[in-house]
Symmetry: C2
Subunit: 456 residues, 2 copies
Amino acid sequence: MARRQDVTRALAEWVVDSKFDDIPDNVRAQGVRSFVNWLGCAVGGASHETADRAIEGVAPFSGSQKVTVVGRAERLDALHAALLNGITSHVLDYDDTHLKTIIHPAGPVASAALTVAELKGLSGRDVLHALLLGIEVECRIGNSVYPDHYDRGWHITGTTGVFGAAAAVGKLLGLDAQRMTWALSLAATQSSNLREMFGTMTKSFHPGRAAQNGATAAFLAQAGFDSAEAGIEGRRGFAHVLSTKQDYGEILDTLGTEWEAGLNSYKPFACGIVIHPAIDGCIQLHKEHAIPAAEVESIELKAHPFVLELTGKTDPKTGLESKFSIFHATACALERGDGSPTAFTDEAATNPVLVDLRRRVKVETSPSVREDEVTITVRTKDGRTIEKYIEHAIGSLHRPLSNADLDRKFLHQSALVIGEAQSAELLDMAWKVEDFRHAADIAKASVPARQKAEAV
Amino acid sequence: MARRQDVTRALAEWVVDSKFDDIPDNVRAQGVRSFVNWLGCAVGGASHETADRAIEGVAPFSGSQKVTVVGRAERLDALHAALLNGITSHVLDYDDTHLKTIIHPAGPVASAALTVAELKGLSGRDVLHALLLGIEVECRIGNSVYPDHYDRGWHITGTTGVFGAAAAVGKLLGLDAQRMTWALSLAATQSSNLREMFGTMTKSFHPGRAAQNGATAAFLAQAGFDSAEAGIEGRRGFAHVLSTKQDYGEILDTLGTEWEAGLNSYKPFACGIVIHPAIDGCIQLHKEHAIPAAEVESIELKAHPFVLELTGKTDPKTGLESKFSIFHATACALERGDGSPTAFTDEAATNPVLVDLRRRVKVETSPSVREDEVTITVRTKDGRTIEKYIEHAIGSLHRPLSNADLDRKFLHQSALVIGEAQSAELLDMAWKVEDFRHAADIAKASVPARQKAEAV
């Protein structure tokens, strides 16, 4: 074992030495949930214009050993397919959240692991193992620098996801400890992505590029392309340059005995997670009171400061922008009872009734309110006051989505892209990921059946 | 024109509106010098093991529309060829330096511009125009955040080079102002690269990846993949997240009237520029006194603090590491009179005479010594003391390399890879870059003649 302070090397050795059979059943089960949720999101986002634009931009550069892009007819080389999978799994902002760090963990890791598994003919167990290790690496590195790193303006899903993808692909390639160390340092030197991009197509580019860059790091390291020994903890390495906080105990303590995958949560609503308490409450108000928009005098929220920091857009013009508007999300949830992808389309963002209603949303923030908590007060024009208190939003660790909830979420978004029957079949395969000798079979089953025949 | 504070937009508009004929002759001449120097370095580094390893890692993912990799027989898609050109042009640490920021400007920009020009059938003038604009963008962005950004640990060639490559390729693709703005923001969100990697293959990965990522940004923007409006100056954009200093006047003032290309310098020695004064002085001492290593008691340097900060490796094991060792470089220059690529090979780094001599090098640093200044005191075992004072190192703006010096530098390193005759022909073409209807002709002339017949 490396010396305690050799963080990059120690983490690399742990990944290299990990055996799938040593991972506890409950951790594996969490990994399967992450995989199922990721696959549903990647299919659900696959028909988004963002994916069309990305494919138009990069397909001319795709290599000839092509693999599946989840939910699409086009086939790309494994690195570009990883980019696309990462984009589609995140574009609806409907994926998963490691609540300690606001990392969306599966996207950068699974997006690369599945394409490399297809390229190399590897199994569903291999993918699940790589996914669990990648999530562990990215979330622990996130823990070591959060919150300073995030507060500075980094989109932590991209900055840490590249490590997760490197570890996952490195494991699939069977790198030794030296090469895995190089892969992690090659990931460190590619760690980037800015929160300024929120509300544009470039936000979902982040987990996609993290997947692609992390995989590239692993392939380069495999070829003997060398790198630093201490890309994470070195004086000019990731943690010192991209953060004012460096807590390496968060990376190395309890490694292999406590698993971050168990702390992953799955979004019930297709937008920034800090809005979820408000949507949860407004959907309940919609069901219980069905107050027409015209009768609403005001909607007042008392929420955590992150709500305005991250989702304070007052006048979103597009579906992607509306995911970062507490005003839109609140109005749409109260008026339509909807927080799913259909609540964040260009139509919804520009709907006159919703645009008018969102102007009546007032947000007061306080650090004394927890992130998964909100108080909503609706005042009607005829003088009524209706209050709703959400202690823990649905989807939080206190109220996690059940496997049946994940099924419903998967089928609802996937059906819009590949139809109900194919979605049901794909969902069944996703839960059984461990049984597949060729993980590629799952990826291939996500291709829209109508388009499959036409595909190259 | 955009409002003064819209930095990204204003810079994008300037690039889009620029006309080649409006650029002063002396600026164009500097651009040609940068191009010649870059091409010589890319050929000179093309046979380095770093390039072999990179090609082995990424070639399986190369697309089918292949273009030339400078100095190599293999052909890759334009994005991967840009990566390789960036690697080879920097791997010997022999390229160019924008002394205000320590950016090596041509690598990220020319490496992408030439491959995209070949892909699109563009001219030498197009490449030269794109190169000048790219250098301008990257160096001005560098000026806006230097030195804070560099001091923090960022390898500024990579962090700013990605903007330069995006601007250059965006210009070659004829992007409009909106798409150029997106391209610059897509560059901003990919801005990365850590100084921790110095001394490994990953250092030269930085300008390569900046070239590749900047080009990708431009191709995505061309396809309508949207991004932030203010990737540079936004609250969560490049300048605020990656620097504590933001001086946007450095970006927008005198744009189009003063050119950073005029401030580019060309390395006379194949290593970190802060060592150059010491090498310059020691080569002079070698010529003047020829003191055998065995007779040297000590070599004392009085130098700028960057010398130990950046090149303080006391016991380099490889050629790449030795480029960051003031101790090795000083010993080699005194003993062999050499600061060229042959001074920084694995052989030189482990040569017993040099290893022994470098232990007798003592470095005292002081902020009162300028970066291009050094005082060298050699004490011999028989009691002599020989002093050499270098006021401005050769290659600095006070003592720039002449065109004849650039010729010699080009031919010396290029001949080692493609032979003297082909090097002379290529050098002639490089000086005439403006005359080429197809810039690809220059790239193709760099392929080793012996291997060209074997190439796919």
